[in-house]
């Protein structure tokens, strides 16, 4: 799983941050298309998914890196 989390805590956090940023930007775009099916789909498939993945990656990074530290 190193290819996702990266070597260091900072890399994991940066990747998580990038996912969150993409998610937030997509959500912002979807809010300009309120009351249209395209806006709803953009949020559900794009924004929501990226935000969810970003949060999960952040939590995963914390757990994985604290485990690594304990082993060290």
């Amino acid at each position: 799983m190193k290819w996702i989390l990266g070597e260091t805590l900072e890399t994991g956090l940066r990747r998580s941050g990038i996912l969150v940023l993409v998610g937030l930007a997509t959500e912002l775009l979807s809010l300009t298309m309120l009351e249209t099916p395209a806006g709803f789909m953009l949020f559900a498939i794009g924004g929501g998914a990226f935000l969810g993945l970003g949060v999960l990656l952040y939590l995963w990074t914390l757990v994985a890196k604290s485990e690594t530290r304990r082993q060290d």
Partner: protein
């Protein structure tokens, strides 16, 4: 109110972007205790709130008449709300404001049960899929026959309704008799194009203030 909600969300998303960008550009901040708190806010709390709020705003906006009628296939159904025909159920409800015009489609086409809204949303996702990627059927039909519960949600107990339906009240409540047995004129799509109109467009009527 919805506009205020979505405007607040836009501001919140901008603030969240600023926090997330700070962490992406300077992840070394997390070496300090304060930085860890910022990371927790920027990568967990704020995205979670943005996700929940975004979902709420989009869910609410998907209940609007504009949303339903934005699909080309729904246009004749929108026009059927404007026909000059007092026996047509959707038209008489819409024109006389017996339903909230902003949520006209959803008011009658959701199920008034515990998970009715979610069920309607799941079906809505299927409709979106069919609209964008699938094949739209020539004749659009309801999934299930219309049950009286959806009408009685508003009409049950109303004085005029009770007085006019005194003899059939029990049969209506137990679904032995359908409301549509007598009120059998719904959207009547086949006649919409030629029927006289009460108004030019649905859009103009949505702007009427309460």
């Amino acid at each position: 109110m919805e506009l205020i909600g979505s405007s607040l969300l836009v501001v919140f998303v901008f603030v969240s972007i600023a926090f997330a960008a700070l962490l992406v550009t300077r992840p070394s901040l997390t070496a300090r205790r304060g930085g860890k708190i910022v990371a927790f806010l920027a990568l967990f709390v704020m995205p979670s709130v943005a996700l929940w709020a975004g979902l709420s705003v989009h869910m609410e906006s998907s209940k609007t008449t504009r949303f339903c009628l934005s699909c080309h296939v729904m246009e004749p159904y929108g026009e059927s709300l404007l026909v000059e025909e007092s026996f047509a159920l959707p038209a008489s409800h819409f024109q006389n404001r017996r339903i909230d015009r902003e949520h006209a489609c959803f008011t009658c086409h959701t199920t008034y049960t515990m998970f009715g809204d979610y069920e309607a949303k799941l079906k809505g996702l299927k409709h979106l899929y069919i609209n964008f990627l699938g094949e739209i059927p020539e004749k659009i039909e309801l999934y299930d026959p219309f049950v009286n519960r959806e009408c009685l949600h508003c009409h049950a107990g109303a004085r005029a309704f009770v007085e006019m339906h005194e003899e059939d009240l029990e049969a209506l409540q137990t679904d032995e008799m359908s409301c549509l047995d007598c009120h059998d004129m719904a959207h009547a799509i086949e006649d919409v194009a030629t029927a006289p109109r009460w108004a030019d467009s649905v859009e103009g009527l949505l702007e009427v203030t309460p």
